[in-house]
Symmetry: C2
C-alpha cells in the first residue's frame, strides 16, 4: 500500500473511515455504512444512477443488502491526503456475493475510489464514492 | 451542474480536461484519451483491475476500443476545486455500445468520477478516474 501525506495520525484516520465503510458494508450494516458519509455524500455504484445525500443513501443501502449478501475482503491500495481537508483512498475487494432471491453464490471482485473530506469537527467523511465491478460482469 | 471554487478560469480548465477525456473516448482516440492523464494516472473501470500509469493506460485503451464502439453523450454533474492543485468532476454518460465481434448494439449508461491534479506547468490532469456501469449489467 502506498501512503503519502504529512501526518501519520491523519492518514490513519483517513484510512480508518474507508475501512469502517468497507467492513460495515460487508456485515450489511446500513446505518453504519451511511454514518461514514458526509451529509452531501454521493454514491456512484453499478446498476443505479448516483445516490446523492444521506437521506437517499439511507434508503438505498438497505435495498442493496436485501437483494445481495456480500462476503468480501478488502485491500487498501493507497491513502493520499491532498490538502488539509481532503484525501482519497483507493481499494479493491474480492469474495463472494449471494443473490438472496435465488440463493446463487458467485465469486465477485470490485474496486473502490473514496474522496474524503475532513468535517469541521475533524472527522474524515466520505464526500464522493465510486465503485466498479471487476467480476462477474453478468 | 453544480460549480464551486474560487476561480472561474480554473474551473473551466478543470471541466475542459474531463470533457477532453470524454470526447476523445467517444471517438475512440486512445492517444488523446491517455494524454489527459498524469504520468501516474490510474483508471478504475468495469471488468478489469486498476490500470496504473501511462504506459499501461496506453496499452489498455486501444484494447477497449478494439472490442467496443461507443456512441455516448455526457452530462457534467459537478466540478469542484478542492485545493490549489486538486479538483474532482462527476459526470454521467449515456448512449449505445456496439460489440465489435458480434455487431450487437445496446443502450448503455455509465457514471464517472475524475480526481484531477494541476501539473507544475498548470495543466489539469487526471490523477485517478473511476467509472461504473449503470446499464446494461449483462
Amino acid at each position: 500500500m502506498a501512503i503519502s501525506g504529512t501526518s501519520d495520525d491523519e492518514l490513519a484516520a483517513i484510512e480508518a473511515t474507508a475501512v469502517s465503510y468497507l467492513t460495515a458494508f460487508n456485515r450489511a450494516d446500513a446505518a453504519a455504512v451511511v454514518a461514514n458519509y458526509a451529509d452531501d455524500g454521493v454514491l456512484m455504484a453499478p446498476a443505479r444512477p448516483a445516490v446523492v445525500g444521506k437521506d437517499m443513501l439511507a434508503t438505498v443501502y438497505p435495498e442493496v443488502f436485501e437483494a445481495v449478501g456480500f462476503d468480501m475482503t478488502y485491500d487498501i491500495k493507497e491513502v493520499v491526503r491532498i490538502s488539509a481537508d481532503w484525501a482519497f483512498v483507493r481499494s479493491a475487494t474480492e469474495g463472494t456475493e449471494t443473490n438472496k432471491a435465488t440463493g446463487d453464490v458467485q465469486p465477485a471482485q470490485y474496486q473502490e475510489l473514496f474522496v474524503l473530506r475532513r468535517s469541521t469537527i475533524g472527522a474524515w467523511q466520505i464526500a464522493r464514492y465510486c465503485t466498479c465491478k471487476i467480476a462477474p460482469m453478468s
